[in-house]
Amino acid sequence: MKTLSADQFARVKALFDRLVDLPAADRRTVLDKLDEAPEVLAELHLLLGNTLVDDARYAGPVLAAMLADQPAAVSEGTVLGAWTLGAEIGEGGMGKVFAAERSDGHYEQSAAIKLLSGVASSQALRYLARERQILASLSHPNIARIIDGGSTPGGQPYIVMERVDGVPIDHFCAQHALPQDERLRLLIDVCGAVDFAHRQLIVHCDLKPSNILVTADGRPMLLDFGISRRLLESSAEDNNDDSATPAPRGTALTTSKAYTPRYASPEQINNDRVGTATDIYSLGRVMAELLGVPLDDRERLDLSSLPPDLAAIIALATAPVAGDRYASCAALAADLRRYLDHLPVSARPATVVYIGTRWLRRHWPWAAAGLAFVATIALFSWQMRAERDAALAAEQASRAVTGFMSSVFQAADPEVAGRRDLPVSELLDAGRDRLREQLQNQPLVQAEIAAILGGVYQSVGKRDQALALYDQAIVTLGAEPPPLLLADLLHRKAYTLFDLEDVSAAEPIARQALDLRQRHNADAAARVRSMRVLGTTLLYQGRREESQPLLEQALALAIESSGEESTDTARARLDLGALYGYYDISGELALEHGREAARVLEQIHGSDHPLYADALEVQVIGLNLIGDFQAAIPLARTVAEQRIRIYGERSPQAGHGLYIWAEAMGRAGHALDALPVSARALQIQQQLTGDDSFSVIAPLLQLAYLQFRCGLYESALASLDRLIQIHRRQQSAGSLDLIEAQFNRGRVLRALGRLDEAAEVTAHVLEQHRQNPETIPYLVARSQLEMAAVLRGLGRFDETQAQLQAIDRSAFGRDDWRRADLLLEQARLAAAGGRDQQALDRLLAGEALLESGLGAEHPEVWVERIDRAELLLRMDRPREAQELAAQIRIQAAPALAPDGLLQQRLDALP
């Protein structure tokens, strides 16, 4: 065919475009009228007749050629860089392992080369290359060193590592039939190695027996550190935050699941953020395997065969939520050592309890009169969530910062770069200095990295350094900072201050961060986090009125941005539900939020999830406020059982779960059933924080109350004496909680008939109330009522009458039934003065009020009727007395200890 000229070609193309869409007939009409060169027309005819789309014909050969172009497989004898492959010595989930010798003629060295199966992304490979320097610095006697790495001509990444002659730890234990203690000692060494790596910000993420070899001389060696992680993760993300929401997983380049399901943590399986806690989980699973713990058909551990302490250790290491596990491998190792030394293992450090109780101490007033117990728990579980969130955030930060840190390593400073065992704190400081020097002209980058570095400082507990960095970054940003970056820094700063318990300093900064984020349309998740931090800061200052609308707004925004069916929304509901419940605002609302959160959480995480138990707890508080104690009991029991199962018996979570359960039973009047549960909660708290710690106060007070209710006055007195001692040691003299304890002591003394002592104690209580500006009218009224009762007992009826008349009726608040005690006391005074009929009327009126508040079935209502039975007997109405006594014996039974004084009074009746 003749080749067309450029002009002719252009004509052909223009005409083709004009004609191709026309119907065939029209096409011919136009073609016939064309005055074109014959070559042009001929070409045009050909093209118009060949418009068939047949992409498969052309793309097919391209694809086929690509497929034919597969690289040759790597095998024995293949040369990779400076290494020649020897025999294949293993094959695992991650790929084949070959023996290798150095072949570049420089010096002889044998190694093992692991070819990583699956295709790693280029990004992951570059990351790996950068990481190699850090991994190479991971010099520890129990860690196989990474020597080199690269990718094969076919693109398969490989790692060259120190060759270890050993057998997998499970085989080693089996071969040598090692006793349990020896196995634990091996694991302690393993924990030490993993902890060492964690302190360099390197995680393993695929710990399992086949990655833990034991050499002939019994030394465990860890293989493959940092490999699976680096391959699985994309570059660092800077969406770290120190508050509630787990970051979205936008850019993770997960090409294969390079973990082993049996040892993999829930966060790995769910493709969530992984971190040091992931390794702790896997270690827990390995430990369970080495100790012969059976698995059920869903591969869950059945720890029942282990000694309780050991079971608790494994349960804590393998807690489903990362933030609930041991804080570090070192902590896990320490617990194992304590176990071997027959010392009590401490499941977790007590910082959470400490913060909760510190809060309680500051904000006692609203929590008075028995509600105090519950407050501790509310703060407890809230704080737990916060800690978990913080742990997640810290993990993200450490990963984000690794990239920058590796550049620190590679920095020109030979003194720094040459050192292999640079501890993380020095690393951080080096990073901070480098930040200052090198990025002076890039304030934005500097600020961003400062934010991340600050997060790492925060996560390793160096909060002051974190604050300094944030401040420095804020200054760097200058007069016109990018608002969202500034907001991020302020938010972090506020959180760190909050963490330092400097809530009054945290508050304005949190407010500023929230304000910026709102004005500049930060994403909803960030705004929700800011609202929660500010709301919590306010709550910790006891400023409920300001906190409440913020937490309500946070919930509304969470619903709007994440929808009802999201964990974020459920968390916001829990915060708000707890606030409503613990601040006695609305039991109905607390119950509603608790129910809704439970529904969503169960759907998303299942009913085994710790957050689900938190949601039940909020419901319990709501039910208690509403007065539906009977409904609260089974829920509270579930909370207790769940927390014991998840965290082990000897854990703060289990202790508080039991405490809630005892509380629900106590409120329902089942004091007798509640007693052993309460005692168990107290025992756990004592083991965790010591006999005389502040955290013991709440369960001890609960126990004393229950003992008193059952009529076990001597025991109650002993408990209260101990309680008062602890208060004194905690230097809370003059505080309302100490006054309350003394009030209770007076009440018990009166019940024991030690009226002079009771009078002295109660007079002292009243005097202290008078001097305390923070006192609450209800507490004063109760003390006056108690004083009246003591005076009546002493036969000083006029003073009793005066005391009763001095009581401010409005102090009893909105609940009518609280005035029952006043009526009952008036009745007893009438009886003591011989005005039997008046006494009987008042007793009946008081009982009716009590019944309206607690319900006709409530055992305490029936306990109060013992007075009436005694009165009837004295009024010569033995038949009625007998009938009433018979009813009381049945209805009050759940509240009466068989050897208690109340039971004795009942026994004296016909």
């Binding site: 060949n50 047949d54 050969p61 050629a65 497929l67 280029s122 994309s234 936008g250 850019t251």
Partner: protein, 202 residues
């Protein structure tokens, strides 16, 4: 590694709308990061092959493969989703140039080995009848594209990006800096031209 630019393979520059060669545009795009680019190419190409062979294994037939699907999956795996979509398109356009040169080189080698008795290249293995016809188709496609390029660079570029680059029309429009309507028009013409002028005889 392949070099971007004029090939010894019979096809030269693919030209963008402004008359600037596509190669030059793309070179400018990854200027200053040559080493990283080279590695990226290797990775992406490996990725592409990997996905292709996985699909073939699971579906058993290369005809069900869509190049567009393949390329986009590979590019997300290699570059991640954080890279701007425009950069991704440019990267893959760029990569397709390299890939074409590699594939054509190797196709020629296999063919000459078969025809010349292949005494020296036993490692390349046997070439069967089906494969030979596919190789011929591939070489014919390459020749036709080169020929079209001399007449109409943009049309040829659209075709190249479709078959070797596996790009969808919107991506091609992005790389070439033209509207999708223009891409459609060019593609329609170029397909007809290819149907008319492809010649599988060497």
């Amino acid at each position: 590694m392949c070099s971007n630019g004029s090939g010894e393979n019979g096809w030269t520059y693919v030209t963008g709308p402004s008359g600037q060669s596509l190669t030059a545009v793309l070179q400018a795009w990854h200027a200053g990061d040559g080493a990283a680019y080279g590695e990226l190419f290797e990775r992406a190409y490996g990725e592409l092959r990997q996905i292709a062979s996985q699909r073939i294994r699971s579906m058993g037939d290369s005809a069900t493969l869509s190049p567009t699907e393949l390329v986009n999956e590979a590019v997300v795996r290699v570059l991640g989703s954080e890279l701007h979509w425009q950069d991704r398109n440019h990267f893959f356009a760029s990569m397709s140039l390299c890939m074409r040169s590699v594939l054509i080189d190797r196709a020629r080698a296999r063919l000459s080995e078969r025809r010349g008795g292949g005494a020296l290249h036993v490692t390349l293995g046997q070439v069967d009848e089906g494969e030979e016809s596919e190789i011929l188709e591939l070489l014919a496609l390459d020749r036709a594209l080169s020929k079209l390029e001399a007449l109409d660079p943009r049309s040829s570029a659209v075709l190249h990006l479709t078959y070797f680059g596996g790009l969808a029309r919107a991506q091609i429009a992005d790389v070439l800096g033209v509207s999708t309507q223009i891409v459609d028009r060019e593609l329609r013409f170029a397909r007809s031209w290819l149907n008319t002028h492809i010649d599988t005889q060497l």
